[in-house]
Amino acid sequence: MATTTLNPRAETYQRSWVLDWLTTVDHKKIGILYIVNSFFFFFAAGILALVIRSELAVPGLQFLDEATYNQAFTMHGTIMIFLFIVPVLSGFANYIVPLMLGAPDMAFPRINALSFWLLPVGGLLIFSGYLFGGAAAEGWTGYNPLTQAKYSPGPGTDLWLIGLTLVGTASILGSINFIATIFKMRAPGMTLFRMPIFVWTVLVTAVLILLATPVFTAGLIALFIDRNYGGSFFDPNVGGSPILWQHIFWFFGHPEVYIVILPAMGVVSEVLPVFSRKPLFGYRAFVFATVGIGLLSFSVWAHHMFTTGFVFLPFFSFMTALIAVPTGVKFFNWMATLWRGKLSLTTPMLFALGFLSMFLIGGLSGVMLSSPAVDFHLQDTYFVVAHLHYVFFGGSVFGVFAATYYWFPKMTGRKLNEGLGKVHFWMHFIGFNLAFFPMHQLGISGMPRRVADYSPDAGWTILNSMSTAGAFLIAASIFPFLINVVATFINGERAGDDPWEGNTLEWATSSPPPPYNFDRLPPIHSERPLFFLTHGHGHAADRPADVDEKPEDDVQRRGGAA
């Protein structure tokens, strides 16, 4: 069933398997390295989450002291954001974007490899604080003056700063690579408005990374100078400004959360149409909404600082509420894609639908926070923890699992088992809501965040215990997933080129693709090049103007002889 026949001489150069993976510049292998590395950090940060939730299940300090707890939540946030969610989406982008563009690889394959290898080094540096007297313990936001040397002595915070600088550099290099690839290496016929939506989201994400991350890196270096060389950037006693740190951090930090969500939205925008057997409704509107979100994301950062007393509230409140409009456009387009479709509830589709439901809640709680007077009550409470987990976890992580189940067959040639996939999904979905929905109420009733303990008289115990139960259910849900992955590698159902009846070019080559990706490319006349190939008809947009009615004449068709 393969459309590409491997040249039998292609694999005669024998290399050790380990050396091959260590030195590869092939975007597909690098993509897999990103994904596997990210999942290791996911489990590490997930264990930290279980540590946190175990301690908070009931009042009183049962297992940890305050210092250990503070390191735990700092490491949990830092690792989850910088070493799991951004890299794993980067990994899927790395694997899939060149295929979706019909390109043989990324524009700069060696920089691609460098971008990856900086990640385990940076991540281990951040973790190494534990070996040198304590990891960083000031929260992933590292607010000053708390992160100044006099209040947080010891190398943990310095290692955190250096590790993040490396990780940030990796991101910046990767983003340059994606922008160059997307602009310069599209197959003939693929105009920008015929690119898959996933590629659009990766493009906007890459621009956000390029513009925002250097600001963060500058801040990290400035703080390092403050801590180690007598700098005075952020210490108010020597003429610096702690609020300046917050501006620098959040000017990056807010686009960062869109960096985290946009690729996941891209995945959902690929999965929903395939499993509804309809095109994405409103492709152009979707592209404009994505670009709009990218632009607006640079104008809202101070909504994280409403309670500081140093922010012009009306502007940031307005822009934050405004960003709900393009997000709403995306939601309505997704809903219209489902409307009158023919839905198959496969595991990737379940995770995509789960994304819609959970990100909806996270988005709405975000709009609530956009009102400063309401934010004065809810800021720095568990309401924010609930909000951020509904968007990061309910949004991006659900998108990551949708991507995993959707593209696993392409990457490995085998389909993950649907039964285990559904068990994973439902345990994950129920566990997630059990863990994080009660946190809304905890925050609304006044429980602050980043607290190692809370008063038994506050009335917060039951909700905390529920949340802990949910956390353990999420952890348990990983087991059907891992069993599925291992079992599928051993003896899973083989997938052909196109197990899902997909629309985009990655399904026009073998599973997994050969090193050079494509033998021949189909002609590209719409954003669904394969749809026309498979069904030979459809909306005028799918039908090329210059090809006659019988497409099998000079177009390579799948499932038949070339």
């Binding site: 409140s317 007077a373 809501n433």
Partner: protein, 356 residues
């Protein structure tokens, strides 16, 4: 093969929704605590309006998703494509315009409430300086004579979080200086918080104003992560009638705050500070007996002496500006080793040994 009708699928879905209903019900009604200040009532009202708007959107969108999953499920064996609708420009315009209008409405009602919350009265009934430091609070009641030395002060310790007594029905202005890192002054029942930001010598600290509407005791807590003991940085506000408050204030100003005073022949430790240095870094005191620290500041800066063990503040002497001398009455310390520290300049530390 079992043939599932749309109705039985819907019933299956409703049964599956039961765990979520339970989670939702146990999670509470999503309403803030009953508001106890005038502006908190405005915030509560705004919150409810925003929650209702969000709730409507949630039910609409989520309801559609559930409906679509049930109604548009692909039937087994159905290989026909559904109508391949690519988009509709008019619909895009409508669902861009309507949310924009909703956003504008949200912004307007938000701004109205924000202006109420941020309003400042010309003459507050009480002005309190609530100083945050790692990891407690100190409340100083400013009177009109511009002399900090005769102000009533409430010092918080880890063992005894401070209580801010206030009259009901009058605007209370709270000034929020920090001695070290950023903290946050949060009273959940007032539906408000404000960060306590160190602003350096020439800066102006944040201020907050509220009018308490009901007598009672309201707990508060630091809400900006500030280090090791952030979770323990609690306080309380006790609101009472103006008459009772005046009575309390008179007693507090006369310095009669209950503190275990040392016996006439108690040990007096002499300690001085200048710049960022104490005169000694090791003090010996008798265990189990209250003692006195005669603390002299020879430069023009603010200093104090606090006694800590394991990061927990056991005693915090009043911070004052030198040059000058104060006598701190320190409660008895069980035998062991402690640290003393200036809370304005945490680099200034030393050891106290309480021995036989």
């Amino acid at each position: 093969m079992r043939f599932t009708t749309a109705r039985s699928r819907l019933w299956g879905l409703l049964r599956a929704a039961i765990p979520f209903l339970i989670i939702g019900l146990l999670s509470g009604c999503l309403l803030p605590p009953e508001p106890k200040t005038e502006t908190a009532k405005d915030v509560f009202g705004l919150y409810v309006a925003v929650l209702v708007m969000g709730g409507i959107v949630f039910l609409g969108v989520e309801g559609f998703i559930v409906y679509a999953v049930v109604r548009y499920r692909r039937k087994p064996g159905d290989d026909q494509l559904p109508p391949q609708v690519h988009g509709n420009t008019m619909v895009e315009i409508i669902w861009t315009a309507i949310p924009t209008v909703i956003v504008l409405i949200l912004f307007v009602i938000s701004t109205i409430t924000l202006n109420a919350v941020e309003a400042r009265s010309a003459k507050p009934g009480v002005t309190v300086e609530a100083t945050g430091f790692q990891w407690q609070w100190r409340f100083r009641y400013l009177d009109s004579d511009n002399n900090p030395k005769n102000d009533a002060v409430v010092n918080g310790t880890a063992a005894n979080p401070p209580v801010m007594r206030l009259p009901v029905g009058e605007p209370i202005r709270v000034i929020l200086p920090s001695l070290d890192v950023i903290h946050s002054f949060f009273v959940p029942q007032f539906l408000i918080k404000r960060d306590v930001v160190p602003v350096g010598e020439n800066g102006t600290p944040n201020e907050l104003e509220f009018t308490i509407s009901e007598e009672g005791t309201y707990t508060g807590q630091c809400a900006e992560f500030c280090g090791l003991q952030h979770a323990n940085m609690t306080f309380a506000i006790q609101a009472m009638t103006r008459a009772k408050y005046d009575q309390w204030l008179k007693v507090a100003k006369s310095g009669a705050t209950p503190a275990p005073s040392a016996a006439p022949n108690a040990t007096v430790i002499k300690l001085s500070a200048t710049g960022t240095k104490f005169s000694t870094d090791r003090i010996q005191v008798p265990a189990g007996q209250p003692f006195v620290i005669r603390f002299e500041i020879t430069d023009g800066q603010n200093h104090n002496v606090a006694v800590l063990k394991g990061g927990q503040v056991l005693f915090a002497g009043e911070i004052f500006q030198g040059p000058g001398v104060r006598e701190y009455q320190v409660p008895a310390l069980p035998a062991g080793e402690y640290q003393f520290q200036c809370q304005v300049h945490p680099v200034m530390t030393g050891t106290i040994v309480a021995g036989p």
